[in-house]
C-alpha cells in the first residue's frame, strides 16, 4: 500500500474561513492510501516546508498531496522541497482548494468542504499511480538563425555573434537593411540611416560569426528547441556572387529600366539587373527573372557581355541549404497597407498623393530627387502639403482597429524636414490624437508645431480628390467644429502599418501563431513579449507589432539575450511529462502520427511500433486520447489515473 501524505494549508483565513479543515483532515485520513494528514496555517512558509520535509523523512512518505492554492503558484515550491529530502518531485501533486474552492464558494462552507475533500481524494488517487520522472537532457546546437535582415535582425545578429554564437541571417531581398534603410532621417534626433544603420550593416557583413543569406527564404523548419533543422532556399540570382564585385556595370547597361524600385517604394525605377541601393550588404547584383529580357525572351544578353568579372550566367542557380540551428529569432518587420485600399484618399489614382514611406524617399538625400521635395506628377516644388494621419489605423469599421504607433512621430518629422527643404512651404497635419510617448518625442512634436510652424488640425479627412491641378482635401476641424476644404499641392498619407506579407506562411512553417492582423504572437503580452509559445523561437522588432527604431533595437537585444541564455549550456533540460508508448499494446496503426502537431511520435519502420521523440514531445497528451489500442499514454496522466479521479467524484471513493 502506498504511503501518501496529505498536507492541508489554511492560507491564513483564505481557505480556513470557508473550508472546515478539521473535517477535511478527518475524512482524508480514512483513505487507506493516506499514511498521514496534517494541516498548517501557511504551508508555503519555511516552517511549513520544513514540516512537510520532516514528515517525508520521518514517515517514509512516497507521495504527497498538497492541498492549497493553484498549482501555478506553489507546485514548484513543494516539488523542490520534496526533492531536497529525496522524494522524486513528480510524486508531488497539488489539490487546488483555494482558487477552485474556498474563494468561489465563500457562502456555502459545507458544500465547499465536501468539494475540497473530493478534490484531495481524487488527487490522492492520481498521485498514488504517479511514477518517478527525471528531467530530460537534450544536446543543443550553438547557432542561431535570424529571419529578416532589417535593423531588428541586424542588431540581434550582432549581439548573438558577439556572444560567440554562429549566426545565420536570412534576408529575402538581396541586401540587409530593411525598412530603416529607406528612411530619410529618423526621429527624434534626425540622424540619417546612412549615418547610423550603414555601420551596423557593414559590421554584420564582416563579422566572422555572421553568415548573411541574402536573397533567401525559409523553405522548411523541422526539429525542436536546441536542435532545429532549417532548409534555406537561396533564390536564383543568375549572377555568380563569388565573382560579382558589385561594380554596377550590369545596372548601367541593362535596357529594362522601368521597374518600380522596391527600395524607393515606387518613387523611382530600377533595372532588371540591379543592386537595390549603393550601401547594400552584401554588395552584389541580382537579375530579376520576372523582368529580364534574356530570361523571358532569350533576347538581349548585354550584361553578360559587359560584366568585367564574367559573373553573369543565365542559369537558375537556386540552391537549398540545410542548416543545423539551436534557436530562431523572427524579425520579419512590417509594411504599410497596400495601395489598392483608400479610394477615398485617391491613393494610386492621383500621383501626388503618396504614402509616408514614399515621401521618405522624396525627402532622403539618397532618394531619387536627391532630397529635393518634388511632386511626382510634374516635378514642381509643392508649396503646400497636407499630411493625413491615421489612414486605415484606429478605424475598426473599415481597416485596422489598432494605432500604428509610429505615424504621429514620422509625420511630425516629415513636416519638419519638408519645411527645412521648402522654406516658404506650408505643412498641414490632420490628426485625431497626437501620441508622442517616447524619450524626447513630445518635445519633438512641440518643436514641429511651435518652431517650424507646422499647422496641426485636429480632425479626420473624408475625401481627397484632384481638381484643376490641385489636390482638394475635405475634412473637419473638430476643435472649432468647422468644415475644412484645403487646396494643396501634395498629400501624404500615414497609412496603417501591417505585418509583412508572407508572414502567415512563415509562421506555420515555424509552428508559431499570428494574431487576427498577422502580427506574430508572443507567449505573454507583458511578461514574455520576446518568446513565442514554441520553445527556442523568439521575436524581434515590428514582426510582433509596430515598433519604432528604439523599441525595435531594444527588443532585438532582448531576443538575442534569450537565445544566448538558451544556448549557454551544452544541454537543455525539459519537463519529463511526455507521451510514452506501451510497445506490447501498440499495433503500429500510425493514428497517433496524424494527431501530433510536433511530429514527435512516429511508427518506427523497423519495429512497426510507435515511438516518442523525447526532444520533440510537448506533452499535450493528444496521442493518448487518440490511440485506439490504448498503447500511448501521457506520463502521470494515465487512463486509470483519470478514471479513478472520476470515480472519486461520482462515487465518493474508489473501491479498492
Amino acid at each position: 500500500m502506498p504511503r501518501i501524505g496529505v498536507f492541508v494549508c489554511h492560507c491564513g483565513l483564505n481557505i480556513a474561513a470557508t473550508v472546515d479543515i478539521a473535517k477535511v483532515i478527518d475524512r482524508v485520513s480514512q483513505h487507506p492510501a493516506v499514511a498521514h494528514a496534517e494541516d498548517y496555517i501557511f504551508m508555503c512558509s519555511d516552517p511549513g516546508q520544513l514540516l512537510v520535509q520532516g514528515k517525508i523523512q520521518e514517515l517514509g512518505l512516497d507521495g504527497l498531496v498538497m492541498a492549497n492554492c493553484s498549482p501555478t503558484l506553489h507546485e514548484r515550491t513543494f516539488r523542490n522541497a520534496a526533492a531536497l529530502v529525496g522524494l522524486n518531485p513528480y510524486l508531488v501533486e497539488i489539490a487546488n482548494i483555494r482558487e477552485a474552492v474556498s474563494w468561489p464558494h465563500m457562502k456555502e462552507p459545507e458544500r465547499a468542504t465536501e468539494k475540497a475533500i473530493e478534490i484531495i481524494l481524487a488527487t490522492v488517487e492520481k498521485v498514488r499511480q504517479n511514477t518517478e520522472l527525471h528531467t530530460i537532457k537534450v544536446p543543443v546546437t550553438h547557432s542561431v538563425m535570424i529571419i529578416g535582415g532589417g535593423v531588428a535582425g541586424i542588431q540581434a545578429a550582432l549581439d548573438c555573434a558577439d556572444a560567440g554564437l554562429e549566426v545565420h541571417l536570412v534576408e529575402r531581398t538581396s541586401s540587409i537593411g530593411g525598412m530603416m534603410a529607406s528612411l530619410s532621417e529618423t526621429f527624434p534626433t534626425l540622424d540619417c540611416p546612412q549615418c547610423i544603420l550603414t555601420p551596423k550593416m557593414t559590421q554584420a557583413g564582416k563579422h566572422p560569426n555572421i553568415r548573411i543569406h541574402a536573397y533567401s527564404e525559409i523553405e522548411e523548419v523541422s526539429g525542436f528547441v536546441g536542435n532545429f533543422q532549417a532548409k534555406v532556399r537561396h533564390k536564383a540570382t543568375y549572377i555568380d556572387w563569388s565573382k560579382c564585385t558589385g561594380c554596377g556595370v550590369c545596372m548601367t547597361v541593362c535596357p529594362t529600366k522601368k521597374i518600380p524600385s522596391e527600395y524607393n517604394h515606387g518613387m523611382a525605377n530600377r533595372t532588371a539587373a540591379y543592386i537595390p541601393f549603393p550601401q547594400a550588404v552584401p554588395n552584389r547584383a541580382v537579375i530579376d527573372d520576372k523582368n529580364c529580357l534574356w530570361l523571358l525572351k532569350g533576347k538581349c544578353g548585354i550584361c553578360a557581355k559587359k560584366c568585367p568579372a564574367e559573373a553573369i550566367h543565365y542559369e537558375d542557380n537556386t540552391e537549398i541549404e540545410e542548416l543545423e540551428i539551436g534557436a530562431i529569432i523572427v524579425a520579419t518587420g512590417m509594411e504599410v497597407l497596400p495601395v489598392e485600399h483608400f479610394g477615398e484618399y485617391g491613393l494610386g489614382k492621383i500621383p501626388d498623393v503618396v504614402t509616408g514611406i514614399q515621401f521618405e524617399r522624396l525627402l532622403a538625400p539618397s532618394g531619387p530627387t536627391a532630397g529635393k521635395v518634388q511632386r511626382p506628377s510634374d516635378g514642381t516644388e509643392p508649396k503646400e502639403i497636407a499630411f493625413l494621419q491615421c489612414i486605415g489605423s484606429r478605424d475598426p469599421a473599415n481597416y485596422k482597429p489598432y494605432c500604428s504607433k509610429v505615424c504621429c512621430m514620422y509625420t511630425g518629422k516629415q513636416a519638419m524636414l519638408y519645411k527645412h527643404a521648402v522654406h516658404d512651404g506650408q505643412a498641414f497635419v490632420f490628426y485625431i490624437d497626437i501620441r508622442s510617448d517616447g524619450k524626447g518625442y513630445e518635445e519633438f512634436i512641440q518643436r514641429a508645431m511651435e518652431e517650424e510652424k507646422v499647422l496641426y488640425i485636429r480632425g479626420k479627412v473624408s475625401k481627397v480628390f484632384e481638381d484643376e491641378g490641385k489636390i482638394v482635401v475635405w475634412g473637419t476641424d473638430t476643435l472649432t467644429g468647422k468644415w475644412i476644404e484645403l487646396r494643396v499641392d501634395m498629400v501624404v498619407l500615414a497609412t496603417a502599418a501591417v505585418a509583412s506579407s508572407g508572414v502567415n506562411e512563415l509562421a506555420s512553417k515555424l509552428r508559431i501563431t499570428t494574431d487576427e492582423h498577422g502580427w506574430l504572437k508572443e507567449a505573454h503580452l507583458k511578461l514574455q513579449p520576446v518568446e513565442t509559445l514554441t520553445a527556442g523561437i523568439y521575436l524581434a522588432g515590428a514582426a510582433q507589432f509596430v515598433k519604432d527604431i528604439s523599441d525595435t533595437v531594444a527588443q532585438a537585444s532582448g531576443a538575442a539575450a534569450k537565445a544566448i541564455a538558451l544556448l549557454s549550456k551544452d544541454h537543455l533540460e525539459r519537463v519529463p511529462i511526455i507521451a510514452c508508448v506501451d510497445q506490447d499494446l501498440c499495433v503500429g496503426c500510425g493514428y497517433c502520427e496524424t494527431f501530433c502537431a510536433y511530429g514527435a511520435i512516429a511508427v518506427d519502420p523497423v519495429t512497426g511500433k510507435a515511438e516518442v521523440n523525447e526532444g520533440l514531445c510537448e506533452g499535450c497528451g493528444g496521442c493518448a486520447a487518440h490511440c485506439p489500442s490504448g498503447a500511448a499514454t501521457l506520463t502521470n496522466y494515465g487512463k486509470k489515473q483519470v478514471f479513478d479521479m472520476i470515480t472519486t467524484f461520482t462515487n465518493g471513493q474508489v473501491v479498492q
Binding site: S70, P71, N651
Partner: protein, 151 residues
C-alpha cells in the same frame, strides 16, 4: 455512513434540493487559469463542478466523458482554448471533432446530449467561466438526475 451512502442520499431525488454532480475537464493553459482567475476575483459560482486539470482538451479521451456519465455524473463539461489559440497548435480542434462523437453515443444511450458541454474559455475569461458553470449547473438541475445513476 460510507461516502457512497452519503452521496446517494443527496442525489436520489429530483427537485429543489437536487445537487447535480458535474465533472469538468479543464485545459491547463486556458480554462483552468480562467477558473483560477474567477477564484482570485472572488466571483461566486455553484460548487457542483469537480475539476480535473488536463494538459490539453486534445487529451480528453471519449472514454473519460462516458466513464463519468456511466458512473452517474449528471453532467460533463470540457473547457478549452478558443479556436486558433491552442497551446499545442491544434489540440482543441481535434478535441472538438472527437468529442462531437460523444453526442451521438449519448443519444444512443437515451441520455440527453445537453448533459455534455464543450466550451472555449480563455485564461482571461474568468467571468465567462462563472457564467458557463452557473448556467450548466442550472440546466442540469432542470433536467434532473441522470437516469444512469445507481445502475
Amino acid at each position: 455512513m460510507t461516502d457512497k451512502d452519503r452521496k446517494g442520499e443527496g442525489k436520489a431525488a429530483a427537485g429543489d434540493d437536487f445537487e447535480p454532480v458535474i465533472v469538468g475537464f479543464f485545459c491547463n493553459w486556458c480554462t483552468a487559469s480562467a477558473a483560477d482567475l474567477a477564484g482570485t476575483s472572488r466571483m461566486q459560482y455553484p460548487p457542483n463542478v469537480r475539476p480535473i486539470r488536463v494538459m490539453c482538451t486534445g487529451s480528453v479521451d471519449t472514454s473519460f466523458v462516458l466513464r463519468a456519465l456511466l458512473e452517474g455524473a449528471d453532467g460533463v463539461m470540457v473547457g478549452g482554448c478558443h479556436p486558433g489559440d491552442c497551446h499545442y497548435v491544434t489540440g482543441n480542434y481535434r478535441a472538438r471533432r472527437r468529442l462531437t462523437g460523444v453526442i451521438k453515443i449519448l443519444e444512443a444511450l437515451a441520455l440527453d446530449p445537453e448533459r455534455f458541454r464543450f466550451e472555449w474559455i480563455s485564461a482571461s475569461e474568468g467571468a465567462k467561466f462563472v457564467k458557463v458553470v452557473t448556467e450548466f449547473t442550472e440546466d442540469i438541475k432542470r433536467m434532473g438526475p441522470s437516469p444512469l445513476k445507481g445502475l
